[in-house]
Symmetry: C2
Subunit: 483 residues, 2 copies
């Protein structure tokens, strides 16, 4: 990647941060193109591109014959949700019976789509993928009906390893094992590292799919206090490790679901050093990393791994085609043989056609072009969704500005119950996910996860407005009850 090509992006990011933090106030005029060109020594074109970028995000507006101004309505100023630094105890996972309803609702196209963690199908390059399918020759097809290698299509493995160049430079194609989606990568890792009854540390809150998996495998979840902006609290984790026999960890350092948190590099390093020191295996879920709003994709926990104890799991589900079920493990020598054997023993291999289509799409440059445009779209719609929440939700709500991915973790006033809000949202044709789904505790009962799955439009604005009204009503109902 050419760093110079991103100069405008860096400038846009810096200005964006200043606007979001309030350093550049609402209505304030930005420096003129020529002024900034002189001051920073960058070309006028670069400044212009940065301003256009900020405009496309709705942060600034161009006023004819005057210049660029900070727009009022788009500034996020909600407080960030707090977090409890006290750990609970390891706990068997019991999952609410409504979870499968929640998941089904999140995929129901008739509801206002604020529940799914995957993007609207319209944002994916399905026509391009169809063309690749259509171009399969009879001889290729004959090869595709044969069992693929258990570890996956060699070309796809090579291309996935190549994408990690500069991020985890030691990763070779042999380190990549293709799985049936990221979920299977997590499942095989847990099967490889744990036995029923073992304790596994996760963030609090945690991705409900991980909790569901723990239940199926009879594992105990140890929820570790997690900062809604910076990810898992390394000190709190250390205290947990002192008290509980943690067999493995499962963390999502990049754009955590549901928090949206991104661990800064120094925290990632601290985390991995701690676990390396104690010899504890660490599984990282990297599924959202490609949806970064910064110019570069974030580092991995594996980047800092000195002891070959980190297994990285990801897939194309969030950025290409959820239904393809193409994911992967990145795994070093320590666990590779065991994981290959588990993959082959469990279901022999991952479906061949989707592997081929992904390998083609990843190979021809189309993926990177597509991702660049997708990221801009997602950042814009996520920001607009967050601003609408700020505008329409009752006072006392909190929200961490998302740094990537497409989910928003909203803390409601303590009186508002997330499950009740979910139910009344469903009655109004809107899908969301109640916060309780993300924990074995009751800590997040007054939270909800709201996803930005599609470009912001009136339907979504109206959905959020209705949600806000419903939350307000819940508050009132509670106050009346108390009175």
């Amino acid at each position: 990647m050419d760093d110079k090509g991103f100069l405008y992006q860096q400038l846009a990011d810096e200005l964006g941060d200043k606007i979001r933090s309030g350093d550049l106030g609402v209505g304030e005029k930005l420096p003129s193109l020529r002024g900034l060109h002189r001051k920073l020594g960058v070309s006028i074109g670069t400044v212009y591109q940065a301003y256009t970028e900020l405009e496309s995000k709705g942060l600034v507006e161009a006023r004819p014959k005057s210049g660029y101004y900070v727009k009022s309505a788009k500034v996020l100023s909600l407080p960030v949700p707090g977090y409890v630094k006290r750990s609970s105890n390891p706990s068997r996972v019991h999952i609410s019976a409504i979870l499968s309803d929640v998941v089904n609702a999140s995929l129901n196209p008739n509801l206002v789509p604020l529940g799914a963690s995957t993007l609207s199908l319209d944002l994916f390059p399905y026509k391009h993928l169809k063309r690749i399918l259509g171009g399969i020759s009879p001889m290729r097809m004959k090869r595709l009906i044969q069992y693929p290698p258990a570890e996956g299509d060699p070309e796809l493995r090579r291309r996935i390893a190549m994408r990690l160049l500069g991020i985890a430079p030691h990763v070779r194609p042999d380190d990549v094992v293709i799985t049936n989606g990221c979920m299977e990568a997590l499942s095989l890792s847990m099967l490889a590292l744990t036995s029923p009854g073992d304790v596994v540390a996760v963030e609090s809150p945690a991705f409900f799919g991980a909790l569901q998996l723990f239940r199926e495998l009879g594992l105990k979840a140890m929820e570790v206090p997690t900062n809604p902006r910076y990810g898992v609290d390394v000190e709190a984790l250390e205290a947990v490790l002192d008290r509980h026999p943690v067999k493995a960890c499962l963390f999502t350092p990049n754009y955590h679901n549901p928090l949206g948190a991104l661990m800064p590099d120094d925290r990632k390093q601290d985390l991995v050093e701690l676990l390396n020191r104690r010899g504890i295996p660490l599984v990282e879920d990297d599924i959202y990393a490609e949806l970064h709003f910064t110019p570069q994709r974030p580092s991995l926990l594996k980047t800092y791994d000195q002891k070959d104890l980190v297994i990285t799991c990801s897939s194309v589900s969030k950025v290409l085609a959820p239904g393809f079920r193409v994911g992967w493990l990145v795994v070093g020598e320590r666990f590779r043989e065991r994981l290959s054997r588990l993959k082959s023993g469990f279901n022999m291999a991952t479906s061949s056609i989707e592997q081929y289509v992904c390998s083609q799409f990843l190979g021809d440059g189309a993926f990177d072009r597509f991702l660049r445009s997708l990221r801009r779209t997602v950042e814009k719609q996520v920001h607009e969704t967050a601003v609408a929440i700020q505008q329409y939700f009752p006072k006392g709500c909190k929200l961490a500005p998302p740094q990537g991915g497409n989910v928003l973790w909203v803390e409601l006033p303590p009186k508002v119950d997330g499950y009740r809000l979910y139910n009344s949202a469903m009655e109004n044709g809107i899908s969301i996910v109640p916060g309780g789904a993300f924990s074995t505790t009751r800590r997040y009962d007054h939270y909800v996860r709201i996803s930005s799955t599609a470009p912001f439009d009136d339907r979504i604005r109206d959905g959020i407005k209705i949600l806000g009204d419903l939350a307000e009503r819940e508050m009132g109902a509670e106050e009346n009850k108390a009175a």
Copy 2:
């Protein structure tokens, strides 16, 4: 299916049995077309079709202006391998390190293909499948990139249930759960029914994939004596159940791999009644059932299940496209919820495109037409392979005439070691599977599995001749050693 359409087939089968059993001797003349037409009251066309069928299998030959005669070289007269009726003890599974070499060799196209349990790719309708792929519309593609339902594509589930009409009449589409191949169906069933350390009863010998799975899940294999023609010995199983805490059973009643055994209906019924009485869950692997040499597909163990304790597992891997990884579970209410949850928890769903292609191919009648022709091809090549083994292998070899499927279980003279034969076969560019791969015991060290993967030709004949020579040499070497 129209029963009348199979009259010729029934006649061909009856005559074929008489030839194989020796009732109709080599060189003997078959009744004339007109004679049999009068005697049986069937049309001359039906008799002609039956004779043509026998001719295509190489059992009879037409002599111009004379009639049809039993051909000499094609009669199978090898004794059936015996079996030990004494059970061993439940045993942790340790799998020979060479197993993955064996599996890789069986897929290596440069070797004479007597090792794979799947058919040659040339026998599969890949051009037709490619046409289905090519016909996917953009709107269809958009739907295909969405997460499929965890239980699978509703249309495919319906079509699979329909295929069991008349076999297991109570099976509804809701009872079918799509999995990533038959292997995943077995894996999820074992995860649902057992915990590490549990004892699972299997045939002796057993499919090595099942043994591999047991090892990965920490299960103990209880090998139950199994008749090479009629499948698992129900009395022996009863004795086993009295002595060991068997948690679940995994049997392959239809064309067992590696035995080729078909359980007769009354034995199936006895087996299921025994396990129903004791409340023990039974997983049946039905993957070879569509490769039947008789006119009708055989019944299921599920056919006789009164207590909803049988889970049936199968896939398209042996009859359509191994690389598609499309399989299924047929499961009643008792275990359905647990299995759906496991499927969704483990890898969310099976890849969408292969599900769609299978659903289309199963739906339009092409599948049945294709299967009818495939079965004839496979029966012919399997029979010719068996006859070649009889011709070229040393005296003392045994072989049960296969009744379906495409694998042949060959008992060598006790002095010949299957692993050594495998190694020398590999040196000569031929893949086979040593018998030891199918057991936790040493009982099958002088067996090999020889597959008929492709239409019989000179390459395969030469391969079998070389194998026979190698086996002969091994015998001599052993005798010299002993002397």
